[in-house]
Amino acid sequence: MKAKVSALMDGEMDGREAADLIARLSKEEEGLEAWRTYHLIRAALHDDGRLSGSLTGRISARLESEPIVIAPVIAMPGGMSAGPARNRHSTIAWSVAASAAAVSLVAWLGVITPRANEVATEALASSKSDRPVPEAQVAAASPASPSIRPLSEEADDYLLAHQGYSPRSSLQGMAPYVRTVADQAVRTGGAR
């Protein structure tokens, strides 16, 4: 399956075989996984080895603006496997179509890797301005089960009582104390 996805991406598959494969990809977990992996690798190579914050942003923007597209934009003429004598333009078109589809598919699969988070956060944090920064991309700790609630308002009292004993202060000083004074407006969901 992985070899087939790779062949599809490199434009080495004829029209009917490609159409069949794409139909399967949308149904099979292994295929989706391979599709996702290869396109992440491709995106990483094109972005100089890193998933940039801007790529993450583009993916998000695409998700909002486009419907899910897995079928190719340009269909190859039907027919048997062509072998080496192949329409070069169609080959290129497949790669383009594959990339376009990949962006939508990657977004649909909800792929935001931890590194993408980290790089996006760095992009936020490395701005020299001391104006308030926009919302972060730091992942929320996903609870193991739905029975884990978010911390409530009264947690601040316990946190403050606890913070003085935390070894973190021997590495960071006072910075972790900001955990203990959550903005009331944020807690109640009001405007900041």
Binding site: D130, V178, V181
Partner: protein, 318 residues
């Protein structure tokens, strides 16, 4: 001497080189030393889930424990000021000042040489790459937990001063669940004016913790907080919210700490919301034992606070 011998033994063990390189452990000591020696001003951003807040921070480092001030720049203008081992939180929205004792970081046992070696039993400590943060070249130190009871950490320290300029807490999947990162950092002299409280706080409520040492077993309580690597740091009775007589026991593995609070359920009994809660790098487990509310607060995954909470027992003393 025993500590030294143990450290030597550990360093001779082949496996230890891979788990905790001496260079990485040295960087932890440098980071700690910087909290005692470096005066600075700066701005850092705290991020956790969707919460993101920038704060100004200033520190005067001196031989008596120093003074630090944090001013939140987003939302309500809260301030936190530590002078020596006393911490005051100014909360203008509630018109309240909360006063707490802070463990004096000079005496903090966590990073004495024997303790650093102990850390290596429960965390892999290695060096990562270097990176510029807030205009300063930084060295990455990676702490990976060896079990599911702890979180991991990625730390970046300024190669010049040793100051920690970025710290992430990471979960088992390697996702950052909490992050502190400096966007401005200026080491150098800091004046007293820069660490003074901005709020006059006249007629504000004052909530003073007044913690004093205690022995909970005499009162009939047992807590088996002995998760691997965690040992007891403190046992106090203190004021917390409405009650004067809240017990607190603190356990730590040298990097993460867990507090167990035991407070009597008052006459006006509100419904106790038992169970687990968690946001960012903090987990809390609440349950009722013998007409008391037990609250376990940990800088750990939920499994750890739950396990400790389940061991709390009460037997009426004779």
């Amino acid at each position: 001497m025993r500590g030294f011998a143990a450290a030597c033994l550990l360093s001779l063990t082949g496996a230890c080189w891979a788990d905790a390189s001496p260079e990485a452990l040295d960087w932890l000591r440098r980071i700690h030393a910087a909290t005692q020696k470096v005066s600075y001003t700066g701005v850092f951003v705290y991020q956790q889930g969707e919460r993101s807040e920038a704060s100004r921070i200033a520190r005067i480092a001196d031989s008596r424990g120093g003074i630090e001030k944090i001013q939140l720049m987003d939302g309500s203008p809260r301030e936190i000021i530590r002078e020596r081992d006393l911490v005051k939180c100014y909360l203008p929205e509630q018109r309240m000042v909360k006063i707490e004792k802070s463990g004096d970081a000079r005496n903090f046992p966590a990073l004495l040489p024997e303790q650093v070696a102990k850390l290596a039993l429960y965390y892999d400590v290695t060096l990562g790459s270097t990176k510029r943060i807030a205009g300063h070249e930084c060295q990455q130190v990676i702490l990976s937990p060896k079990d599911e009871l702890r979180y991991g950490y990625r730390l970046w320290a300024d190669t010049q001063s040793g100051m920690l300029l970025k710290a992430q807490t990471v979960d088992r999947k390697g996702s950052a669940i909490e992050q502190f990162t400096f966007t401005q950092f200026s080491p150098g002299n800091v004046t007293r004016d820069q660490v003074r409280p901005s709020h006059a706080a006249r007629n504000w409520r004052v909530a003073d913790a007044s913690a004093r040492n205690t022995n909970l077993s005499e009162a009939g309580w047992t807590v088996d907080g002995a998760l691997p690597g965690f040992s007891k740091l403190a046992e106090v009775t203190r004021r917390l919210r409405d009650s004067n007589a809240v017990s607190q026991i603190v356990y730590s593995d040298g990097l993460a700490a867990v507090s167990v609070f035991i407070e009597p359920l008052g006459a006006r009994r509100e419904a106790l919301q038992a169970g687990l809660s968690s946001t960012g790098a903090i987990s809390i487990y609440t349950r009722e034992v013998a007409n008391h509310r037990v609250t376990v607060v940990g800088e750990t995954p939920v499994i750890s606070v739950e396990r400790i909470g389940e061991t709390v027992r009460f037997r009426q003393p004779r």
